[in-house]
């Protein structure tokens, strides 16, 4: 079981240390490395789609 709270705190700590400018690159690295560690491309892609929700850019309903 992943201790989600520990992960949550560690991410917040890294983001505070790195600052806003480095945050996108850091999170992009995290996403790639975690996806790689997961070893399941289908699940990784589903997580990406899930995380892209509710962030402003709405998916095209025609798609």
């Amino acid at each position: 079981m992943t201790d989600t709270e520990t992960l949550y705190e560690a991410l917040a700590g890294h983001l505070d240390t790195l600052g806003q400018d480095a945050a996108p690159l850091f999170l992009a690295k995290v996403a790639l490395a975690m996806g790689h560690a997961l070893g399941d491309t289908g699940r990784a892609l589903a997580i990406l789609d899930d995380c892209a929700q509710d962030l402003g850019a709405q998916p095209d309903p025609a798609q």
Binding site: L25, A28, K29, A31, L32, A33, H36
Partner: protein, 531 residues
Amino acid sequence: MRPAGRSELDSLYFTYPHFDAPAPDAPRTDPAPVVIVGAGPVGMTAALELARHGQRCVLIDAKDTFNDGSRAICIARASYHILDRVGAIAPFLEKSLPWTMGRSFYRGRQVLEFSMPDSPNDKYRPMYNIEQQYIEQYLWDAIAREPLIETRWQTRLEAIEAGAGGAVLTLADPHGRYDLPARWVLAADGARSTVRQMLGLRLRGRNFEGRYVIADVRMQHDYPTIRRALFDPACRPGGTVLIHRQPDDIWRIDYQLRDGESEAEAISEENVRASVTAVLEDIGHSGPWDLEWWSIYSANTLALDDYRHGPVVFIGDSAHIVPIFGVRGLNNGMADAQNIGWKLALVLSGQAGEGLLDSYTPERRGATLDVFANASKSARFMTPPSFGWSLMRDAALSLALHHPWAGELANPRQMAPYTYDQSPITAPDAGGPGGPKPGAMMSDVALGDGFLSDQMGPWFTLLWIGEAPALTHPLLKVVALPAEGTVARAWGAAPGSAWLIRPDLHVAGRWAKAEPAAILAFLDALLERRA
């Protein structure tokens, strides 16, 4: 372009020849079976391939010498096989620098070292660096020995009329203007093809944003022939730099222009010198250097919808423009030239129907589209087109500092010849005997006294494992290979297995339990295709 005070042909290491126009009284208007427009490396390769198969051609070029500058410098293994087949390979092997390896750096630290497939079974190395002037010189030396090729320098195409049974070219040289009828025309006149424009044909596709300056410098620099890619280097923050070694102590430096950087300013001598100085500092070169030549390009993927227009066939850059990261411009052009060369020779000699030519566009345009797919991936990595691509590229490179799996995203994977498995003249694969698949370029095998590729006949070759049947066809050479021999082992093939190899070393078909009559019927059907 060259430094102030030096003309376009004033090279530090190469003496450009001067070619006269045909003599005033030379015959000019006798109909030609084939006219090749453009005596660059692609046009010259096509002329040599036709001549190898006994066919005459007239090769015309508007210039009085070779192309200026080093241009295409990376020649792939498959192209060396083409040069081998047309009898021009010896000086290339003497001059060029073979290489197998590339290294990528991110902010000064190495993130990837890749090797291209290579083994003692390969007659040639995966890649060779050589300046294009030498490529043209060595091809020209072979053409000068060849009585079937008539070259007309300083001869410009002024008009072309193409009909069902051939074309008439209006040509002009210093002695006048004349019409030359031709049964076939090969347009090898480059990215700005006059033939293409005169026929009203357009390339379609897209441009990438990335623009690069390529600069050649001469310097004593101690580094092996390994392609270096510098991502986000100190000398060019946010940009990408490529470095290649060439013969004669010439080094190629490609660097990306920044967004909004003006092309006109970027190619001023002063700015090129400043950019090169910064790159050389970055790679630790502190000795003297001379600026030799420079140029600019952008990464485009553009192609004609159909490479043939009646009697006119487009080969090389006239048919397709690809980003240079894939080193597929000239290499694909040479494959075009060979592909149409042997097919046209068969049609001209009456040994094949014109329908054979219908396989040219699907095979070679297919190869171009494959390059587009790969080159688009490369280009997105080399010159990310947007915020998202740029961020993920940097994330991959940053991870690659410690994780080799991420470095693989920077691997250009650019080297494999295209497989014609969808071609109308490739036999469907009915569960083959192992070894190279239908449509693929034949893999080579080292034999005691040379290589399997040396055993090929001028036209088609049937490789047969075990005792070969008595099988005769005017265009077929049968090569029997021992049942327990090197090839049988390398390809895991049982006795009775057979591969039909085309003149360009691609596999036309393979059979696990070969029936001689079926193979001959397949070959005849391939040749007798009607238009």
